[in-house]
């Protein structure tokens, strides 16, 4: 066992941890004050990944972000995977655990993507049951993240914010608000991102995500934004974020950059941009 650095995420900038930045983070972390890891990458039995993580956790608050639990799945949760998550959280004692409003597996096939759900009362009940189970096994409150959407469901009858609020009310979970996802979904499904954020229950938000996307087009020439985490956060997303922080006050804010990962100074500069927005709000 070892002592983790913090029991909660500071309302400061964090970044998604990439092993190539290990040395830079230890030597020159500013302005980054906490790190997020993808849970599944640290479910091996040992070796460098766990050794690095242990080292980092002694200095930084860590957020464990699951990408494979399939909380929105039609079937039951994978109890074996849940046990692995518990093992990781018991060992690491992270400051936060979060997962996605999505499904990612069917029967015994894992699809390695965050797949969309129809927002209906039946889906609320299923997702709430699964979150109850996760929180029971992990013995902690989790945060649920809003997805990036590329399409809608004919038989859906709830708005996403309504859906998230209902799930949080039933389960007591918190929310992870990904502002880039809001912008991507708003563009793709033609709704107002400002109105979405104005309606969002900010008192339940335990963490904010910011990331990059790229622009494509659908069959009719309409813009289709794709959440890629492969570039800088765009200005309209920074503006939405500044508005959110202005209303809600400072929140732990993560820069997500998972593909075409840049050198540390580029990532640190994105975190510094978040820091400048967070400071006046403090």
């Amino acid at each position: 066992m070892f002592d983790s650095a913090a029991q909660h995420l500071p309302a400061r900038p964090g970044v998604g941890y990439k092993p190539q930045h290990f040395k830079d983070i230890l030597e020159n972390p500013a302005p980054v004050e906490w790190l997020e890891i993808h849970a599944e990458n640290y479910m091996g039995d040992g070796g460098r990944p766990l050794a690095q993580l242990r080292h980092l956790a002694e200095r930084f608050a860590i957020s464990v972000h699951g990408v494979g639990l399939s909380i929105g799945g039609e079937g039951g949760l994978d109890e074996g995977h849940l046990a692995r998550l518990k093992h990781l959280c018991d060992w690491l004692k992270p400051a936060s655990f979060s997962e996605h409003l999505a499904w990612s597996s069917h029967d015994d096939t894992f699809l390695n993507d965050l797949l969309p759900l129809p927002y209906t009362a039946a889906t609320v009940a299923r997702v709430a049951d699964h979150i109850d189970r996760v929180q029971e096994v992990l013995g902690r409150r989790m945060l649920l993240e809003n997805p990036s959407s590329y399409l809608a469901f004919q038989d859906a009858d709830l708005a996403e914010v309504e859906f998230l609020r209902e799930v949080a009310t039933r389960t007591g979970c918190g929310l992870l608000l990904d502002v880039n996802n809001v912008y991507v979904s708003a563009t793709n499904l033609d709704f107002d991102a400002e109105a979405y954020l104005a309606d969002f229950p900010v008192e339940l938000v335990g963490e904010v995500h910011l990331g990059g996307h790229f622009a494509d087009m659908d069959d009719h020439g309409a813009p289709l934004l794709i959440d890629s985490h492969g570039c800088e956060v765009v200005d309209p997303v920074w503006q939405l974020y500044a508005g959110l922080i202005g209303r809600a006050g400072p929140l732990p804010t993560l820069i997500e950059w998972d593909n075409d990962v840049p050198d540390w100074p580029v990532l640190a500069a994105e975190a510094a941009r978040a820091a400048r927005i967070l400071v006046p709000a403090a």
């Binding site: 599944e40 990458n41 479910m43 091996g44 039995d45 040992g46 070796g47 460098r48 990944p49 766990l50 050794a51 494979g68 639990l69 799945g73 039609e74 079937g75 994978d78 995977h81 499904w103 990612s104 597996s105 069917h106 029967d107 015994d108 096939t109 894992f110 699809l111 390695n112 993507d113 797949l115 969309p116 759900l117 129809p118 590329y150 399409l151 809608a152 469901f153 004919q154 038989d155 793709n188 499904l189 033609d190 709704f191 494509d216 659908d218 069959d219 009719h220 309409a222 289709l224 794709i226």
Partner: protein
């Protein structure tokens, strides 16, 4: 929505986009669904590229991408741990007729997968070399070794170690001969070593829990146990030993 129809259509681009999926104006989702198809295939292909860099080098980027696309449709992941995706690659390659003229590829895939498993294996402190050195030879021959969790080996009819070496650090061009590789992880980096002839049999016997003496009997008189022990000790691969009391 039915997950099963969605899943089938994700993995098979020849299938129609599932019904009930629409855009903001209520029109069929069309290529919006392709975003998910591309994400799934793209992320799995990338995992295979990262997991089998030498295969990718041997086959070329374009060919490997196509091969990975065929592989993922036949073997979508069964585990949520992408670090272990691709375990079926050796057998897939062995049954892939277009590559039958490159019969060493399955063993190269085995070696690359063994390196990945070793990288993520449990840590284990090696036994001190002095402890082994202090043991009388007859007691050592009667002992059973505990091998590190990271230890792996690949026995091949082909020069699997030389092929790996030539394609990672530019070693000499491989000569056609059988080779076996021993994967050790003394610190955090898994490294394949060339085993002497019969070395894989000795390692397999030791791993199965025979005594050192029994393992050596299988290898014949000329087998150089000193060299193999040196390799195991340097690689931090002996983590303990049991002496037979009965």
């Amino acid at each position: 929505m039915k997950e099963s129809a969605f899943t089938q259509a994700l993995l098979d681009p020849d299938l129609a986009v599932p019904t009930g999926l629409i855009d903001a104006e209520g029109r069929p989702a069309g290529r919006r669904f392709s975003v998910y198809r591309n994400n799934v295939a793209g992320s799995l292909i990338e995992a295979l590229e990262q997991g089998f860099p030498v295969l990718q080098k041997l086959l070329g980027e374009t060919y490997f991408k196509a091969l990975a696309g065929a592989f993922l449709r036949q073997h979508p992941p069964k585990s949520r741990l992408m670090m272990f995706y691709g375990a079926e690659m050796p057998n897939f390659l062995a049954d892939f007729p277009p590559l039958a003229n490159l019969p060493y590829l399955p063993d190269v895939a085995r070696l690359e997968f063994a390196l990945r498993e070793a990288y993520h294996a449990a840590d284990a402190a090696p036994i001190a070399a002095e402890t082994l050195a202090a043991l009388a030879p007859e007691r050592f021959m009667a002992a059973r070794l505990h091998l590190a969790p990271a230890l792996r080996w690949v026995a091949s009819k082909y020069p699997v170690w030389s092929i790996w070496q030539a394609n990672t650090s530019g070693g000499a061009a491989p000569q056609m001969r059988p080779e076996s590789a021993l994967v050790l992880r003394p610190g955090f980096d898994a490294v394949p070593h060339l085993l002497p002839p019969q070395g894989a049999d000795v390692i397999a016997a030791l791993h199965a829990g025979t005594t050192v003496g029994q393992a050596l009997e299988q290898a014949g008189e000329n087998f150089d146990i000193t060299a193999l022990l040196g390799l195991l000790i340097q690689g931090g691969a002996i983590t303990g030993l049991d002496e037979d009391c009965g």
